[in-house]
């Protein structure tokens, strides 16, 4: 995974301005950069979790899991 700062720059270009405005209205005391960073961190985490799940998609044989053990 890339560093948070490089991800921040890459993703910030993709965040719609309307979304930033809407979030700013909900959290008026926080600065725009703080809000943007929160959004970016959430997006970075989402991508990280998705990547981890996709890595294992269809990876294991069905016989490697025994439901009777549950």
């Amino acid at each position: 995974m890339q560093s948070l700062s490089s991800e921040f720059v890459k993703i910030s270009a993709r965040v719609p301005k309307s979304l930033i405005k809407r979030v700013s209205r909900l959290h008026p005391k926080e600065s725009l950069s703080e809000l943007l960073r929160t959004l970016m961190e959430g997006e970075v985490l989402r991508q990280k979790v998705l990547k981890a799940h996709l890595k294992l998609y269809g990876r294991f044989k069905p016989e490697h899991f025994d439901e009777s053990l549950l």
Partner: protein, 131 residues
């Protein structure tokens, strides 16, 4: 909204490919996916191949795992087990999973129709996938 998969979803994606990859990806755009500790426990318990188990442990290390059920949730589960006259460990786990969804205000994404019955007794967001 936060959401987590139950064991059936992991079986149908990691061990089988019943849920198409595109639909699996779509769930990540709709929800902030986290891992329920009971589901993690079930998945590791049912995995019989050591190498697979090791890969799953590594996977869970990289995902956000939410808090384990606290005392009041266990007490609620015990009450429900008694009132519903349920006996099996699997049912106990399912109740704890539903109570975790309620407590965390998270949606439970599952293939297990059994959760529809649980949904009548515990209020939580249920996303039932069809096979």
């Amino acid at each position: 909204m936060k959401a987590f998969f139950d064991t059936t979803v992991y079986i149908n994606t990691f061990f089988k490919t019943l849920l198409p990859r595109e639909e699996f990806i779509r769930l990540f755009s709709l929800y902030d996916i986290v891992v329920c500790p009971i589901v993690k426990h079930e998945l590791l318990l049912g995995t019989i191949h050591p190498k697979t188990k090791k890969e799953l442990e590594h996977f869970f290390d990289r995902c956000p795992v939410i808090e384990a059920p606290h005392r009041k949730m266990w007490e609620k589960m015990t009450e429900l087990m008694k009132s519903l006259k349920w006996r099996e460990n699997r049912q106990q786990n399912d109740l704890l999973i539903a109570l975790t969804a309620q407590e965390e205000n998270a949606a439970l994404i599952t293939y297990d129709k059994h959760f529809e019955m649980i949904h009548k007794h515990i209020s939580f967001e249920l996303v039932l996938l069809k096979e």
